[in-house]
Symmetry: C2
Subunit: 192 residues, 2 copies
DNA sequence: CGCTATATGTGACTGAGTCACATGTCCCCA
DNA sequence: TGGGGACATGTGACTCAGTCACATATAGCG
């Protein structure tokens, strides 16, 4: 690892790191674009809210929504206002008198499903060029890297906010991000 | 590849795709956070502008800035206004009377360097757990996947807007994203 | 010379998100 | 048992990035 005059670094290790950064940026851009379009939402947060609700957050309180999505409590209120205004979510009575349960309407659930399908389709198109062996290798490497990511991460939105939780739990055990995040955000077990 | 009742898909192929999506999302989140903090900018676009300017866009017109960053022309004007107000760029005379050249000040260049260093440090920490062989394998797989990404991508911001271009060009040839993007956005060759 | 395309800039607006603060509920502890 | 702090939600005022519609000015072709 030597520095060149600009202060940039070189070598295969850094080339890999740089490529990882580039790939992460585009994939996340495009994936988000696909999800937002499919869910017919204006903001990425709204789309993420729908997907999260559909997967493991349905019936959760506003408080949980704010933690998972990494916005302020008031931000969560506005967000749910928005979704409610569009008929995607309802505010039901919560587990106690202070809190309310945010629940998807059928319309909202449909939008979430569309979003998840769009995400899965986009991501599948990316791995389509890989052989079965390469897919396994990639999965292993991603697992290793993800462990490091999780170790560094201190706050912010939930790592798995757009994930397909059934896909990451099967067929080979659990995802490190899921485990780490679950306790941080106190997310309930997904109904099997 | 079979569908389960929810419409979600299963199998190792889809697990890998899902993991790729999850990894891309966090890495891009965290990387952006690191870059924005290091450049001391409020918005991610501003930080991306600084980094892009430093790498290959210095002296470019506002028009090019708008194309590379994927904002509207007026958005680019506001963006450059902001950076100028903070003493990070200057508007010099452009190649013709209509256009202006956006040029980094020393202060701006310093901020950009800080941002790039923060990005590199974060990404390196992620690959640190991998062996040299694993790094090579990962690099190869990322290259393959990136080719697919580039093929699907139709518009939006420049894929490499945060990249370290010297890292992706060496030591093994060029990055597919760089090649594809270069012609789309008409970005000038980076000064070697 | 006039016409259209191009580059930048401006005014009015939207929309997401924040902060500071208000209200209502919960629950522990004296 | 009731008082007080912690907690959940909600509201008002504001910020800030970004857009659209439009204005201005230059370029360059016929």
């Amino acid at each position: 690892m030597t520095d060149d005059p600009d202060g940039t670094v070189q070598g295969p290790r850094d080339a890999a790191a740089n490529a990882l950064g580039a790939l992460a940026l585009v994939v996340s851009d495009e994936m988000t674009r696909a999800v937002v379009a499919a869910a017919d939402q204006a903001s990425t947060t709204d789309a993420a809210a729908l997907v999260s609700l559909a997967q493991f957050l349905d019936g959760a309180t506003l408080d949980r929504v704010h933690r998972v999505l990494g916005v302020t409590p008031s931000g969560a209120v506005r967000l749910v206002d928005r979704l409610e205004r569009n008929g995607l979510v309802r505010r039901d009575a919560g587990p106690d008198g202070r809190s309310r349960a945010v629940r998807l309407t059928d319309e909202g659930r449909g939008r979430a499903r569309d979003a998840q399908a769009a995400r899965a389709a986009y991501l599948s198109s990316l791995t389509a060029a890989l052989s079965a062996e390469e897919v396994d290798v990639l999965r292993g490497l991603i697992g290793t890297v993800m462990t490091g990511v999780v170790a560094h991460k201190d706050g912010g939105a939930w790592t798995c906010r757009l994930c397909d939780l059934t896909a990451c739990r099967r067929p080979q055990g659990e995802c490190p991000a899921l485990n780490a995040a679950r306790q941080t955000y106190g997310v309930a077990e997904h109904a099997e």
